[in-house]
């Protein structure tokens, strides 16, 4: 099963290597990983999307907790109420015959065109994974030249 894990870490040299090394060293997989400082610049928040059965997930969270620089681990998949979002930049073909369709899709998904040229639009879309993937599949027939995703970030509600 797929899990979204939030890891609060000390913002120190080498911490990312410790976390990613733990995953690679123990054969756990990382689908996406996002990391940035929190309000307190001494701390960073990581969001990791991973896969595994219950036993593996239990090991992952325990092993993360065991790292000295890790302060808190939350597996959101065990909580029902959380928000997850991803930001994606998509460079899509904007040839004359595609322009209108591209803009329509942008509109439907409440995305934004953040850069435009004679041949391409660069579209920024934010949302849950389902929404983002939906938009990508709509844009595909127009010709996607490039795509960059931040990976999921997550937060509990309330």
């Amino acid at each position: 099963m797929r899990h979204t894990i939030s890891v609060l870490v000390e913002n120190k040299f080498g911490v990312l290597a410790r976390v990613s090394g733990l995953f690679s060293g123990r054969g756990f997989n990382i689908e996406s990983l996002n990391v940035a400082p929190t309000l307190d610049p001494a701390l960073s928040q990581m969001t990791i999307v991973t896969r595994g059965d219950d036993r593996i997930l239990e090991q992952i969270t325990k092993q993360l907790n065991k790292l000295i620089n890790v302060i808190k681990v939350i597996d959101y998949s065990t909580e029902t109420d959380y928000i997850n979002r991803e930001l994606v930049l998509i460079k899509v073909s904007a040839k004359a015959e595609h322009r209108a369709e591209a803009l329509r899709i942008v509109d439907i998904f409440r995305a934004k065109v953040v850069d435009a040229s004679h041949s391409h639009y660069t579209i920024e879309v934010t949302g849950s994974e389902g929404k983002v993937n939906g938009m990508i599949s709509m844009l595909k027939p127009l010709g996607i030249k490039g795509i960059v995703r931040t990976g999921l970030v997550a937060m509990s509600r309330g």
Binding site: V9, E10, F13, G14, A17, R18, G21, G25, R55, E58, Q59, K62, Q63, N65, K66, L67, I68, N69, V70, I71
Partner: protein, 581 residues
């Protein structure tokens, strides 16, 4: 007054109560060595290889219960410590390893003798540091000792750039450490302990399975109390040996691949296993799906990641073994009318039957010394009281089987990593920690050559360490597998060209004694013990003796082989030499 980083290093060690460190100098640690030279409180033992230094510090730690401390230079000095660090990490041994590093301004430039030792050791240390500024040095050392010795113990590495050892700052040693991300659970949950006890009360076939955690936390007395009071038999993993007296009637011996019949059958038949500070290593469980099929499992461990890693657990208890067993003892003492002894009578009778049916034995061949006999004689001559280290291979398993360990910190062996070359430097470290104890390294002729250079260290300090080489002129354990599972194809396991160990010992200034006849074994051991110098006993043993019983890889632990299959072709040593020698 301002102190240099090198001076701060020494002051911090004093504050931590360190009196002995093991190491090897080099360019970037010259300043530290210079400060060490000008003081008397900390003695520095110069080993002959950095791997030897780490194993010696590890042996010192295991024998004394104090953390071991190592100091080496950058680059090759640092990389030479890796095997020692990984060995300590797998067995949860507290070490603080200091490596020199090139100056901060040169890091990342592929400078002379630069190695990213923090990166290299990240997966085999409990934690590690690069100290970037002398103002952080004292606090980092304080944290390192705290982390190494608190919770599940382990090695911590501190990388010290040369400029950090030169630069000066005010010396303040923090009085305490507060790490947000490191708060081990030291006390087991009382409700869980009560649940465990109620299972113990109901069980008909319970077993206490205990490991290194009992030794490391000092829980052996509590364990003994529980076993005696409840009449529950005890089995110790390799790391747990010494946690329960080896000659006690409730002792089952070691379980697993080379475990006793009684221990393996008890686990397989048990309806309750109470595991304490043991991590269900694959060498213990054998085929995991077939392990202890009837048992409910209670697992007490300081490290939550050890619980439910390999086997299912019904009652997990995270906590220090000693604290938790003490709580359990209190509850047991308050119990009335359980009638433990009568409740377990049938179970203990069954176990006695297994012990009688298949005791640990070995075959002796005329005119040859059985290696197991040598271990038995060392046991007798030392009255079961020596500190015993081993190398890895048959020597290690025979020692585990035939030396009946009495107390914790008496048996020092590389269990998790299985490091050949561990035993001798560890024996040196143990002898430094316990100068009045008799110390033996029970070795194989292969393993001993992996750190043989430390003979110079032992002799320099006139350490009365004894090495008993069970000299079979084979990489015996590998040869055994080749014999049993590879149709006697002895590929690269024959050591006939090995050195003359007696001459080698003498070349180093140690005493070498060759023992080729069974009747000379007891006297030679006694003589070695009486000599106040390093002694190497070269026991010319039966070359093709095997460690039995044995659970083949992938089998359940009650599917044991007891001796070589009859009718199977067995090469004579002479033939084997011709093929591979």
């Amino acid at each position: 007054m301002k102190l240099s980083g090198a001076e701060i290093f020494v002051e911090c060690l004093k504050k931590e109560g360190v009196d002995t460190i093991f190491g090897y100098p080099g360019g970037v640690v010259l300043n530290i060595y210079d400060v060490l030279h000008q003081q008397r409180e900390i003695r520095h033992i110069l080993t002959k290889h950095e791997q030897g230094a780490v194993h010696a510090a590890d042996g010192y730690a295991r024998a004394s219960g104090k953390p071991g401390v190592v100091l080496v230079t950058s680059g090759p000095g640092a990389t030479n410590t890796v095997t020692g660090i990984a060995t300590a990490y797998m067995d949860s041994i507290p070490l603080v390893v200091f490596t020199g590093q090139v100056p901060m301004s040169m890091i990342g430039n592929d400078a002379f003798q630069e190695a990213d030792i923090v990166g290299i050791t990240r997966p085999c240390t409990k934690h590690n540091y690069l100290v970037s500024d002398v103002s952080k040095l004292a606090a980092t050392i304080k944290e390192a000792f705290h982390i190494a010795t608190t919770g599940r113990k382990g090695p911590v590495l501190i990388d010290l750039p040369k400029d950090v050892s030169v630069n000066k700052t005010d010396f303040v040693y923090p009085s305490k450490v507060d790490l947000k991300g490191f708060k081990p659970t030291l006390h087991g949950n009382l409700q869980q302990i009560k649940r465990a006890l109620s299972l113990m009360r109901k069980a008909e076939r319970p077993v206490l399975f205990t490991g290194g955690g009992v030794i490391l936390s000092g829980a052996a007395e509590e364990l003994k109390k529980i076993a005696k009071k409840t009449w529950i038999p005890v089995t110790n993993s390799l790391m747990g040996l010494g946690g329960f007296p080896g000659d006690h009637p409730l002792f089952l011996g070691m379980p697993g691949m080379h475990g006793t019949y009684a221990a393996n059958l008890s686990l397989q038949q048990a309806d309750l296993i109470v595991a304490v500070g043991a991590r269900f290593d694959d060498r213990v469980t054998g085929k995991i799906d077939a392990f202890a099929p009837k048992a409910t499992v209670v697992h007490i461990d300081i490290d939550p990641t050890s619980i439910k890693k390999n086997v299912r657990v019904d009652i997990p208890i995270v906590g220090d073994c000693r604290n938790t067993l003490r709580e359990l003892n209190k509850l047991i003492a308050a119990e009335r009318g359980v009638g433990w002894k009568t409740k377990h009578k049938a179970w203990l009778e069954q176990i006695a039957q297994w012990k009688k049916e298949r005791p640990l034995t070995y075959r002796e061949h005329k005119g040859k010394i059985a290696p197991q006999y040598v271990v038995e004689e060392i046991y007798k001559a030392t009255k079961g009281k020596a500190i015993i280290t081993t190398e890895v291979g048959q020597n290690q398993m025979w020692t585990a089987q035939f030396y009946k360990f009495q107390v914790p910190r008496q048996f020092l062996t590389s269990g998790g990593l299985g490091t050949m070359g561990y035993g001798f430097p560890a024996a040196i470290g143990a002898q430094f920690a316990c100068p009045d104890r008799v110390v033996f390294d029970i070795a194989g002729d292969g393993s001993i050559q992996m750190n043989i250079q430390e003979l110079a260290t032992a002799v320099q300090h006139r350490l009365p360490v004894n090495i008993a080489v069970l000299d079979n002129r084979f990489l015996g354990m590998v040869r055994q597998w080749q014999q049993l599972f590879y149709d006697c194809r002895y590929s690269s396991t024959c050591l006939t060209s090995g050195p003359d160990f007696v001459k080698l010992a003498e070349a180093y200034g140690a005493v070498g004694i060759r023992v080729a006849r069974k009747e000379d074994v007891p006297d030679a051991i006694r003589e070695a013990i009486s000599i106040k110098n390093t002694v190497l006993l070269d026991f010319v043993v039966d070359r093709e003796a095997n460690v039995m019983p044995m659970v083949p890889a992938g089998a359940a632990i009650d599917e044991m082989i007891f001796e070589e299959k009859r009718g199977k072709k067995k090469l004579s040593s002479a033939q084997a030499n011709k093929i591979t020698g």
